[in-house]
């Protein structure tokens, strides 16, 4: 049996729209198979993984908390990936954003003002942007592969955070635990509906960022420039767009959003710095970006889906004793299916059993 591809003359609008849904369906099927293999009833397991977390209000709040950083980071990454800049160090930018934003509530915790929170958020965004500017600088100045440099900086950022919460920023009243001072109330992101759950302003920021970025990508010359340079650097040059400028723009834009997500997360739901502040949001956001087809509106939906896998992992662990590691397996599988289904957009797929007989032709 052989798989043969035939390039479509024009990309398929139908498959552009449905390919993420096919991918989701395939992931669910793969999940059912996986659960059965582990000796669980697949329907029960799928229920507690994907449905149960949506049945209670407090749990929806948790969903928003998890989705906010994913959406913020993925929106930034969509600009990067569209312009063919492979920033995979968002996790590091998230951490550095959190650290630089925390400077104010940790070092100057006596300062009590309504300005504390806005300044923190801005500093977080700046921190993330500057950290992301490093791979951009190395790429434009020295031709250094940005995938490797941005990724290496994740490890550096993680170690830096580890050092700072165990060393200079360790809570003086914290019984030697490796964590920073807890933030004062004015440095904490307000909750949306405190009566029903913990969800904070983070999700609002995320949705606003997605909408603004969507507007830029769809209507503004800036967005057109991003797409052109991503499709063909040569054509971009012909159009008079600066490729170097775009590298910096894409990295700084996504770094700022990742840094903003970092400080929002710390300020909103952790309220102090700890050695580990992210369950891999920066990497999961890559999946969110692709599942959302690099479209900020799609990313809002995709962010909620991936947030659900985090919650589902926790829920399945409690209710049916599954490993919470399974969430990451799901995320990995989902990305595979998303990428595989995207092939349908540009190609007709033929599966041939022998030279002559054509088994199934997909697409139109």
């Amino acid at each position: 049996m052989r798989v043969e591809l035939e390039r479509r003359p024009q990309h398929s609008a139908l498959f552009s729209a449905v390919s993420p849904f096919i991918a989701l369906a395939l992931t669910v099927i793969a999940g059912a198979v996986l659960f059965s293999a582990m000796g669980k009833n697949p329907l029960d397991a799928l229920f507690s993984f994907f449905i149960e977390p949506l049945t209670e209000v407090w749990s929806l709040h948790e969903l928003a908390i998890k989705a906010a950083p994913l959406i913020l980071i993925a929106v930034g990454l969509s600009v990067c990936f569209r312009s063919n800049n492979w920033n995979i160090g968002a996790e590091g930018q998230f951490i550095i954003g959190a650290v630089s934003g925390s400077l104010l509530p940790i070092m100057f915790h006596e300062w009590d003002s309504v300005l504390v929170l806005p300044i923190m958020l801005i500093m977080g965004a700046i921190g993330g942007a500057l950290y992301a500017a490093i791979p951009a600088l190395l790429k434009t100045r020295f031709n250094t592969n940005e995938i490797l440099s941005s990724l290496m900086l994740v490890y550096v950022a993680q170690l830096f955070l580890d050092w700072i919460v165990r060393g200079p920023w360790r809570n003086p009243e914290g019984f030697n635990f490796p964590e920073s001072r807890e933030f004062d109330p004015e440095a904490v992101l307000p909750e949306l509906v405190p009566a029903s759950g913990r969800a904070d302003l983070g999700i609002v920021f995320a949705v606003v960022a997605a909408l603004l970025t969507w507007f830029m990508l769809s209507y503004m010359l800036r967005g057109f420039r991003i797409t052109v340079l991503g499709q063909s650097a040569r054509a971009g040059r012909f159009a008079g767009f600066s490729a170097t400028g775009m590298v910096f723009f894409a990295f700084i834009f996504s770094g700022a959003l990742a840094g903003f997500a970092g400080i929002s997360e710390v300020s909103g739901s952790i309220e102090q710095l700890q050695p580990v502040i992210s369950p891999g949001y920066g990497f999961t956001a890559i999946i969110v970006a692709f599942l959302g087809r690099l479209n900020p509106l799609g990313i809002i939906a995709a962010g909620l889906v991936l947030a659900l896998t985090y919650l589902g992992g926790e829920a399945a662990q409690i209710s049916i004793g599954l490993s919470d590691k399974i969430a990451r397996v799901f995320q990995g599988l989902l990305l595979f299916f998303v990428l595989a289904c995207d092939t349908l957009i540009h190609y007709r797929v033929h599966i041939r059993r022998s030279e002559q007989s054509e088994l199934a032709g997909e697409g139109t």
């Binding site: 798989v3 490797l148 990724l151 900086l153 490993s323 590691k325 990995g332 990305l335 995207d342």
Partner: protein, 309 residues
Amino acid sequence: MESVALAEAILLTITTASTPLLLAAMGELVAERSGVLNLGVEGMIIIGAVVAFVGAFTTGNPYIGVLCGAVAGCLFSLLFGFMTLTLVTNQVATGLALTILGLGLSGMIGESFVGRAGVQLEPIAVPVLSGLPLLGPLIFNQDLLFYLSILGVVGVGWFLFRTRLGLQLRAIGDNHGSAHALGISVIKTRYCAVMFGGICAGLAGAQLSLVYTPQWVENMSAGRGWIALALVVFASWRPLRVLAGAYLFGTVTIGQLHAQALGFAIPSQFLTALPYLATIVVLVLISRNRRLTLTNTPASLGQAFVPDR
């Protein structure tokens, strides 16, 4: 005499730290020479590590563990090959997916093995030669994977530059369209190259969980897959330079460990970050010479290929 013994011990740890990098980078080099950029090395290493550990732990035989690790790496690379070669998905994104899946799956497989004492892959002494002073214990009294890594590098060099298949593989990496026109099977060769990369990464993982630290720790690959990718660039896609690069990085890793042990007044986190920073520095130094990188990079690296039929 004591200082000789100490030097010997240090050098031995350096070979242990360098071997996984060498194995993984050597496999990736072959894949990239054929024009395939597999960014999933980290994922293949970690899956190799966990499967090798479980295989050795359940059978008690480390060699079965090594075999299991190689098979796991190979299966993972096949998944990558199917995606990028058959379905022509984006190689960068697919490599990331492989890493994410590998980290997740390995965590799940290894969950019940965390903290268990593993099975160590014991050294095999080469008769006579292992008696040589210094060189004997260093080179001729090592484990199977060390021998494989050294022989592998020599073998890869011979294969790429002295055999017809190696010439065809390099030709595909240079220009897949022309290779196809000449009747060389681009996809088949690339599948083989990718699988070789997967086997090597699986062996690198096995080395981590059976030699380097014979136990299972989550995320124990700690970015070695990415460093291996950087090593290939650093080595300008040449096998012997990969050997040099891997030992350079092994030395940095061991150097920072010893510095930590000696209690330098530098926070341990900064020392731990050294290999990662060194990777960036090395990449900058090598890639700033655009002319050099342009002439050495396989011209079809990372590009999708769909043959006319």
